[in-house]
């Protein structure tokens, strides 16, 4: 087993990569064979991931908790650069989740993409996406993590723009790539900073790694501008990278548009891959983020994480209330939930943040697949104002959707979302840095229940508001099965995350969990459980009161629109972030380009022309001088020379052969002169 372990670990990312590589050479026509190959690869990868996950169970001491498999990538000068894979609870849990959720999304895609001409290409890109994400979570080097991070970005670019002939999809892909690229550059700079002060990018390397005590202590000991330690400054840069990938304000703008990709892609992006990467980065780098602060103090990078997360959670929850596209609502809910994860990590709740990430991966994938089923059933309709009453036509979809919706809204006890959100709030409440993030998160949780109630009501209840004769239909079994599996996962995950048996948290921290039902009724637990209950009840109740309707008119204004049209407009425009970017950022970028073009045209080219005419004038003068000197000095001897020189002086045509001859002759003359002198 010990020898097989590195091989198994490598197989986890390499199997999907291999599938992607093979599929790249398959022509579109051979697409049908792609699905078994891609699904086989991800399923095998899933088995490997669970096997390596199994080896991390049982806790243990520090040395076993981080098993690193390093190898040299290249050498520059005499300095070797190492990369590596890492097996630890955090990465193993992520790998297990990613392979499992991805595999079911792959299965779902067979049905969803059935009629697509580029079916094979789609599975190739999906495999690349999954492989890159797996490499990311298993990486033992910030550089390898960055490499995988960029490949995740590439795959998301290809998949968001999968329907590349749709202008909106092409634009969304471009927007996703460039927005996340801004974050990536901050990540790059942070990484460079760490290397230049720590001399390594490996996380764990027998005590010499970046996340081990020696390097952490030295990074925390170097202060830089503003009194910030290098560890904190680099952490902040990495945080900006994480904000780009995980859609934190203000770099969230790409995520709502990303739903231009096929629905399984949305499910993958919002759940298992891509957005989880940013949160994972913060979790992975948590030792660096937190180093240097005394026990009761708040590390600046973590404080920033908490505040960014809290602001994002509330902002996206507010905006989600005012959206009408079924996937766009879910997209904003993802942004909001990512904010919760950041709050948890920022306030020190590693276990809570990761639990919420994994639980969210299940129920958000479930919600997207259910939404895809709804869209599939309604033949492409995405506007929830034109749905309604679907509970009758699509009962199974309703069931799975309701599971995801209740988990997201935080319905009590049997849904993992309830416990994970409770854990996040618990972590935020305990935070010594203040109550701000906690209060923002509470408000966001309330709104989550509110807008999800709205969505559920408009899609599944009331009367059908879809004009026309198209009858919604239930989706095929290949789509429903993954939905059932994920629904089951959403509920079963409860087992590992309640305060009674906080297995996941203990597992990540590397010590065994103990069963203690008493923890449920401890005052601090009870207080938060009560708060969570109050939030979800209020949110759902309010939502029901405001949005419940029985008409079949799809053109009626929304109740909020009816009361405050101005607010509704602002919400619909997502509080004008896109408008601001279009008006200012993109224009600024274009202006810089135009400035460069003008500089080229009105400065550099005239400069070149000036240089050329100066050169010509100079040549004329020297030519004339040569002409006279030669006339006087070597008259009769150098006829050939003279005619060459005078030709130069007469013909200032800019013809290169003339100049060349002059140079040759001049050179010969100089050489001759030199020989003559030095002999």
């Amino acid at each position: 087993m010990a020898d097989a372990l590195p091989i198994l670990l490598w197989l986890v990312p390499l199997l999907p990569f291999a599938a992607a590589g093979i599929l790249a050479f398959l022509p579109d026509a051979a697409g049908r064979r792609a699905a078994p190959l891609a699904i086989g690869a991800i399923a095998a990868s899933c088995v490997c991931a669970f096997l390596v996950f199994g080896t991390t169970l049982g806790g243990g001491h520090e040395a076993v908790a981080h098993r690193a498999f390093n190898f040299p990538w290249f050498t520059f000068g005499e300095v070797p650069l190492q990369l590596g894979l890492l097996l630890d609870p955090l990465g193993a849990a992520m790998a297990a989740m990613v392979t499992f959720v991805s595999a079911w999304i792959f299965v779902y895609s067979i049905g969803y993409m059935e009629t697509d001409r580029r079916f094979g290409r789609f599975f190739g890109f999906l495999s690349l996406f999954a492989g890159a994400m797996l490499l990311l979570v298993l990486s033992n080097s910030l550089l390898l993590l960055f490499i995988a991070w960029e490949l995740v970005g590439l795959a998301s670019y290809l998949l968001i723009g999968f329907y590349f002939d749709k202008p909106a999809a092409a634009a969304a892909a471009q927007k996703a790539f460039i927005t996340t690229r801004i974050g990536d550059l901050a990540f790059l700079l942070g990484m460079l900073w760490l290397y230049s002060d720590a001399g390594t990018l490996l996380f764990y390397d027998n005590g010499a790694g970046l996340l081990e005590s020696d390097a952490l202590a030295s990074l925390a000991g170097i202060t830089t501008g503003g009194g910030l330690a290098v560890s904190a400054a680099a952490s902040l840069l990495l945080l900006v990278g994480a904000m780009g990938k995980s859609g934190q304000v203000p770099l969230h703008v790409w995520l709502p548009d990303a739903m231009e990709g096929p629905t399984p892609v949305s499910a993958l992006i919002h759940a298992a891959t891509m957005v989880a990467a940013g949160v994972f980065l913060v979790a992975r780098m948590h030792p660096l983020f937190s180093v240097g602060a005394a026990p009761d103090e708040v590390a600046p990078a973590l404080a920033a994480t908490a505040w960014v997360g809290a602001a994002t959670a509330l902002f996206a929850a507010i905006v989600a209330v005012g959206q009408n596209d079924i996937k766009r609502i879910l997209a904003y809910s993802t942004i909001s939930q990512l904010g919760f994860m950041m709050v948890a990590l920022g306030t020190g709740g590693m276990g809570a943040g990761m639990f919420h990430l994994i639980a969210h991966a299940f129920f958000k994938a479930l919600l997207f697949l259910s939404a895809g089923s709804v869209i599939h059933g309604c033949r492409g309709e995405q506007d929830i104002r034109r749905m309604g009453g679907l509970v009758k036509e699509m009962p199974w979809t309703f069931l799975t959707y309701a599971t995801g919706m209740m988990a997201l809204a935080g319905f009590p006890f049997v849904f993992s979302g309830f416990w994970s959100k409770e854990a996040v709030l618990h972590s935020a409440e305990q935070w010594p840095g203040g109550h701000g993030p906690f209060l923002l998160a509470v408000a966001a949780a309330l709104l989550t229940a509110f807008y999800m109630t709205r969505q559920a009501l408009l899609v599944f209840f009331g009367r059908a508001r879809k004009p026309g004769v198209l009858h919604p239909h239930e989706s095929p079994a290949s789509m429903l099965t993954p939905m059932f599996v994920l629904a089951a996962g959403t509920i079963l995950l409860v087992v590992v995350g309640t305060p009674a048996w906080p297995w996941l948290e203990s597992y990540l921290a590397g010590h065994p969990a103990s069963l203690d039902f008493g923890a449920l009724i401890r005052p601090e637990s009870l207080k938060l459980i009560a708060l969570s209950l109050a939030l979800v009840t209020t949110g759902v109740g309010l939502g029901w009161k405001v949005f419940q309707r029985e008409d079949s008119d799809s053109t009626l204004p929304d109740p909020i629109e009816h009361r405050t049209p101005g607010l509704w407009k602002a919400l619909g425009a997502a509080l004008y972030f896109d408008a601001f970017n279009n008006a200012v950022v993109i224009r600024l970028c274009a202006l810089c380009g135009a400035l460069a073009a003008a500089l080229e045209r009105f400065f550099f080219l005239p400069l070149l022309a000036l240089g050329e005419s100066l050169g010509a004038a100079f040549a004329r003068i020297t030519g004339e001088a040569d002409h006279r000197a030669l006339n006087r000095g070597f008259n009769g001897v150098c006829d050939a020379l003279r005619s060459g020189a005078s030709a130069t002086s007469r013909r200032q045509s800019g013809r290169p052969q003339t100049y060349l001859r002059a140079i040759g002759i001049g050179m010969a003359a100089l050489v001759f002169l030199y020989l003559w002198i030095s002999w």
Binding site: A24, D28, W73, F74, T75, F76, G77, E78, V79, I147, E150, L151, L154, Y157, G161, F164, D165, K166, P167, A170, A171, A173, Q174, F177, I178, R181, I182, L185, L188, L189, L192, Y195, S196, G199, C589, C592, G593, L595, A596, A597, L599, E600, F604, L607, L608, G611, E612, G615, G654, R655, P656, Y659, L660, I663, M667, V671, Y674, L675, S678, W679
Partner: protein, 505 residues
């Protein structure tokens, strides 16, 4: 023997092509492709037995000893990187030319002469043979632009010629002064003199005084900087790249621009380290301007070849930034090594990536009747998935996507530069951002979106065209995954120059 082979074999091919009157242009074109590819095998064979301790090959002829004129050639690891690039890009460009109809007897012969002269530039260790080869690259290049180029080619070609020549004159004067003062024009001898301060001493005792050395260094700097080019000496480039036929542009950007980079590595750093040392902040600033300005100008351009031309300016700006930063006094060992390795790797990668991109443009032009504006296309990906896929790989390599060739070079450059001047790295990162913007915009405008009716019948790459692009794309992927392939060659030299630079007070 290797050196003589490299210098004479392409020339022999050129002579044969010249003598072969009445040859079928297609046959002659493909013969030139095969002929120019033979040096790859010779170099590969030599590289297999490469021992870092000894030179790969040398050849020496005392031509005019009393004048200090030596025909001394020597190939080491650094040379090997550039020789391989030359051996690879020349047949690549000739194959594209043969495919799109530029090829033929004269074209092949000129390209082979160019190849021989480039081999000379990358192996000469004495100024005279180096300069001869340097100058003699100009004539075939200029003829190739002039004879096969677009309507603006005569003017653009003349500009290219004159500006380079002006730089060359500055270098020539500089080296003649060096010969007079120091008594040698051998690069290695001069590097030794520079190392223990003899060169500066000799100049301070000369009639010109210490200022003369400054002028000499400035002149040589100018000659090299024009070739790379550094902003503000770049204005000749976009016109020349755009007006030259695309296969010739492949040679210009893939190889001729590397002469400048190589000159900086081989001559400027070892012989004039003080010059770079003293002006490091200014030169670094110049490189930053080149990076950001190149990327912005690419953003503003709409002609595909001009976009790629400015993108070349931007990419070579990173090489220059690394070089100039490595010369900052007091730089650390690993940072210098990273910066220098990055510059070498980036030069090689850029040669392959940029020539692949121009090859793609050549194929695009060939099937669109010469159209090559950003807005002339749209949505052709549904018709040309393979062209789009291969171009896409090269485009993403050029924006530095990990897994492809562009990344390791740029990463090393940033690693080195950040270790010495963090602010420079931060500013240069802006260039990465703008590059990403114009690359994805190019993909969106040309390949994505609804299919333009005018190109509804555009055809994808045929097997021949795929076979031409495939080796380059394979190299791009191979180096992205295993950059050691190239670094293995340059590392011994990197170690040497790192030690050298650290000894400069």
């Amino acid at each position: 023997m290797l050196i003589l082979f490299l210098l004479l074999f392409p020339l022999l091919g050129a002579a044969l092509l010249g003598a072969w009157r009445g040859a079928n242009p297609r046959v002659a074109g493909w013969m030139s492709v095969l002929w120019s590819a033979v040096p790859i095998l010779a170099l590969k064979a030599a590289a297999l037995g490469y021992d870092p301790g000894v030179p790969l090959a040398q050849w020496h002829l005392a031509w005019m000893p009393m004048a200090g004129m030596d025909l001394r050639f020597e190939a080491d690891g650094l040379s090997l990187v550039f020789l391989m690039l030359t051996a690879f890009v020349t047949p690549f460009a000739l194959a594209v030319a043969a495919r799109v109809g530029n090829g033929g007897r004269a074209f092949g012969a000129l390209a082979l002469i160019l190849q021989a002269m480039l081999f000379g530039v990358f192996t000469a260790r004495h100024f005279i043979p180096w300069f001869l080869c340097w100058e003699l690259t100009l004539i075939p290049a200029w003829l190739l632009i002039r004879l096969w180029g677009g309507p603006g080619a005569p003017k653009a070609g003349a500009r290219f010629f004159i500006v380079t020549l002006a730089g060359s004159i500055a270098m020539l004067i500089g080296f003649l002064a060096i010969q007079l003062v120091a008594g040698t024009m051998d690069f290695d001898a001069l590097a030794d003199m520079a190392k223990d301060g003899q060169l500066a001493e000799a100049f301070s005792e000369s009639p010109g005084g210490s200022m003369a050395l400054l002028w000499v260094a400035a002149g040589i700097f100018l000659g090299l900087a024009v070739k790379v080019p550094l902003v503000p000496l770049h204005a000749w480039l976009p016109g020349a790249y755009a007006e030259a036929p695309s296969p010739v542009t492949m040679l210009l950007t893939g190889l001729l621009s590397k002469m400048g980079v190589y000159g900086f590595l081989r001559i400027m750093l070892p012989v004039f380290p003080d010059f770079l040392h003293d002006r490091a902040p200014w030169l670094g600033g110049l490189a930053l301007v080149t990076i950001v300005y190149g990327a912005l100008a690419a953003l503003a351009a709409t002609d595909l070849k001009r976009i790629l031309a400015y993108s070349s300016v931007n990419h070579l700006g990173y090489c220059m930034l690394a070089l100039f930063t490595a010369a900052v006094p007091g730089a650390g060992e690993s940072a210098i090594s990273a910066a220098i390795s990055g510059a070498v790797l980036q030069a090689f990668n850029h040669g392959v990536i940029a020539s692949t991109l121009f090859a793609g443009v050549a194929f695009l032009e060939a099937r669109s009747g010469g159209l090559r504006n950003l807005n002339d296309f749209g949505g052709i990906r549904s018709r040309t998935p393979v062209l789009c896929g291969l171009m896409g790989i090269a485009l993403f390599a050029s924006l530095g996507l990990p897994g492809l060739a562009g990344f390791p070079g740029e990463f090393l450059i940033f690693l080195g530069v950040f270790g010495i001047r963090p602010v420079f790295a931060a500013i240069a990162a802006l260039g990465l951002l703008f590059t990403a913007v114009f690359v994805v915009r190019l993909v969106k405008q040309v390949f994505n979106g609804p299919l333009t009716p005018a190109h509804a019948a555009i055809r994808d790459l045929d097997n021949g065209e795929r076979a031409i692009l495939a080796p380059a794309v394979l190299v791009i992927i191979a180096i992205g995954v295993l950059p050691q392939i190239v670094l293995h060659w340059s590392n011994p030299w990197t170690v040497w120059i790192t030690d050298f630079l650290q000894l400069i007070p």
